[in-house]
């Protein structure tokens, strides 16, 4: 659990982060969004003490981090940044093994850990372990960056636009990988992004920042439904809000029991209402058949049910 209590950070007298109070629960993905320069990266650097707080305290599991040894603290936290910051003179394997080596793990354990992480991120050990960062594509480098952040088995993962500057397809597959991995390892993740769809997709809760202050801290759906002010409303796209909310809702939660013949066009139960709407528009139909992963018909989704949204 991470607690920020009235945290401020000034640069030359100008606040980059101001009076920030926040609680991040163990095992959640907290996503920080906001306009450029609003203090997102600064917040992350305050968490791992790359920057010191000008005032206020940050506690991790109740312990004030200012009282901990900074280097030890950082080794307990993974840190992944947009430009990866991979060490150009080390191989992928050595890059991933940095923190375990700093933690003085025995060599066989480091080797096994590197192997495990590379496989986890879909980078076969045999072909990637001995490559140098300059030999990787942007997406592969960012995967290695995230794998490196995870290597020391940290309790907390700080990620500053780790999937920035990637094409939408690679980006989405990395997001899915992160969710898949998180379902297994349950880290506390603080994730900074510019991409609001990414935020809505990954977050347990979202922190919206503006000019160094928290404007709203809420779950994705409540942010959409009850924006604290015009800024949040604007940020999450006034005109697109309906679609954004639909993309958070599963078809399976809205469907009705199957009666009579199944409709011709099908949608997966795990797909979002946004995808269902797109199918309806494309096929000019008001009714979809809902099927599970094996293709069995589970129910129907008429347009009325989409408008109503998930039932309680």
């Amino acid at each position: 659990m991470i607690e920020l209590d009235g945290v401020s950070r000034l640069f030359d007298g100008v606040p980059a982060v101001e009076g920030m109070s926040l609680r991040i629960e163990r095992g959640e993905i907290c996503v920080i969004v906001g306009t450029s320069g609003c203090g997102k990266s600064t917040t992350l650097k305050l968490l791992n003490r790359l920057l010191a707080c000008s005032s206020g305290t940050i506690r991790i599991d109740g312990q004030d981090i200012a009282e901990l040894d900074a280097e030890r603290l950082r080794r307990r936290m993974g840190y992944a940044i947009q430009h990866t910051g991979l060490f150009p003179h080390w191989t992928v394997a050595r890059n991933i093994g940095v923190v375990p080596r700093l933690l003085e793990w025995p060599a066989p354990r480091i080797e096994a850990r590197v192997r495990e992480l590379l496989e986890l991120f879909g980078l076969p050990y045999a072909s990637f372990a001995d490559k140098f960062p300059s030999q990787l594509s942007g997406g592969q480098a960012q995967r290695v960056g995230v794998a490196r952040a995870l290597a020391g088995d940290p309790e907390i993962l700080l990620m500053d636009e780790p999937f920035g500057a990637l094409d939408p397809i690679t980006r989405e597959s990395l997001q899915n990988e992160l969710l898949r991995i998180q379902a297994r390892i349950h880290k506390t993740i603080v994730f900074v992004t510019h991409d609001l769809d990414e935020a809505l997709k990954l977050a347990s809760r979202i922190v919206v920042m503006d000019r160094g202050r928290i404007v709203q801290h809420d779950t994705p759906s409540r942010l959409l439904e009850q924006p604290a002010n015009a800024f949040v409303e604007n940020l999450f796209g006034q005109g697109e809000r309906g679609l954004k909310r639909a993309s958070l809702q599963r078809v399976g939660a809205c469907m009705l029991p199957l009666q009579g013949a199944a409709p011709a066009v099908s949608v997966g139960a795990e797909d979002s209402l946004r995808q269902a709407l797109s199918l309806m528009l494309w096929h000019r139909t008001g009714e979809l058949c809902v099927r599970d992963a094996e293709g069995r018909a589970l129910g129907v989704l008429p347009i009325g049910a989409v408008l109503q949204g998930p039932r309680a």
Partner: protein, 387 residues
């Protein structure tokens, strides 16, 4: 690869034509009755006898023939011929000495003339040209064989009558002393400028506002001509030495090793400091941020990230410095510093070109060695290039 009937290789053809012309028109080698007597130049056929001369010309003409319609196999043939040409060169000199200098002429000496030199350099150019055309990892057998045969013939005494070796024989002790002196001065310069340079670099990185004045001074040193700098140091050093028994006991005087070392270090600091500064400052910000974010200590950050990333550029600075110092040490002979420069200036004074060569050739060899050593090291430490 182009079509099998590729155009002829004009570079090889012209180099061969030049070599044949120079061999036929110029002297191949010369004989001197003694050190003072004027040399008598001999053409290729007289110098080596018709058989050897024809063999050399035949090899060159075959080379040209192969170059008319080159193919990978023919390029390999050309390479083999070039290797033979290189390796026979020292042997041909031994043969020349046997033909023209009898055992009863201990004063007589053989010199290399334009034909011999041009055959050497043109063969090396041919080697460079042909080596680009076919992959042949054995190309180094040429220069290697040349050196080996030369060494064996020197060992066996066959080349003893060579003017260069006669000069060496009459001052072999001085030669090794010059080598020690030269290496000592260059090594001292490298050591001092490395220590001082890294200290200055550390200072500049701590206090960036010192960067401009420090570089201003170092740049200023670089603009003073070497002789002027030696001269400038003469007066203050003589004065200091005259008033300090400690300096006297170290043999510090206005001339000799002390002003040479000071001047060499002054020249060497700029490349060392500039390269180290640039290299250490240019490590990417995000690499440093992630290193710190991973929990590296200051020392780990320096020793595992900054230094290894900067090392190739720092070594490049040392490469420039060492080559510069090797050359300037030769000049420093003018103010009495021990080194190969003393042979060069003595030879120039006496009009004895072979003595000049005795100083110049080892100086060049040292510079080439230093170049190879430091570029090799830089390549070894290149990020991602360690194989």
């Amino acid at each position: 690869m182009r079509s099998p009937h590729a155009a002829s290789n004009r570079v090889v053809l012209s180099l061969v034509a030049l070599a044949v012309a120079l061999l036929l028109l110029g002297d191949f080698a010369s004989v001197q009755a003694n050190r003072i007597a004027p040399g008598r130049g001999l053409g290729l056929f007289v110098a080596l006898g018709p058989a050897w001369a024809l063999a050399v010309l035949g090899a060159l003409l075959t080379l040209a023939g192969l170059a008319l319609r080159p193919s990978p196999a023919r390029y390999r043939g050309m390479l083999a011929l070039i290797l033979l040409l290189l390796i026979q060169l020292p042997a041909s000199l031994g043969w020349f000495i046997q033909l023209h200098i009898g055992a009863d002429q201990p004063q007589a000496r053989a010199g290399l003339a334009s034909g011999c030199w041009s055959l050497l350099f043109l063969s090396l150019l041919l080697l460079i040209e042909v080596r680009q055309r076919v992959p042949a990892p054995w190309w180094w057998l040429g220069p290697g064989g040349l050196l080996l045969v030369t060494a064996l013939l020197i060992q066996g005494g066959e080349l003893a009558a060579l003017a260069l070796l006669r000069e060496y024989a009459s001052r072999s002790a001085a030669f090794w002393q010059a080598l020690r002196g030269h290496l000592g001065l260059v090594g001292g310069t490298l050591g001092c400028s490395l220590l001082l340079g890294l200290a200055l670099t550390g200072l500049i990185i701590r206090l960036p506002r010192l960067q401009r004045p420090v570089f201003g001074v170092l740049n200023f040193f670089q603009t003073i001509p070497s002789l002027a700098l030696f001269g400038l140091l003469l007066a203050p050093l003589s004065y200091l030495a005259a008033h300090s028994p400690l300096l006297q006991s170290l043999n510090v005087r206005g001339i000799g090793w002390a002003p040479a070392l000071l001047a060499l270090v002054a020249y060497s600091l700029l490349p060392v400091v500039r390269n180290s500064c640039v290299a250490l400052q240019e490590v990417a910000e995000e690499v440093l941020e992630s290193a710190r974010g991973m929990g590296m200590s200051r020392w780990q950050l320096f020793s595992q990230v900054r230094l290894p990333l900067a090392l190739p550029v720092i070594l490049e600075g040392l490469r420039i410095t060492s080559i510069q110092a090797i050359g300037l040490t030769a000049v420093a002979a003018l103010i009495g510093a021990n080194g190969f420069g003393s042979f060069i200036f003595q030879g120039l004074g006496q009009g004895a070109m072979d003595l000049v060569l005795l100083g110049a050739l080892p100086t060049i060899a040292l510079a080439l060695l230093a170049d190879a050593l430091f570029s090799g090291l830089a390549r070894y430490f290149q990020p991602g290039g360690r194989r």
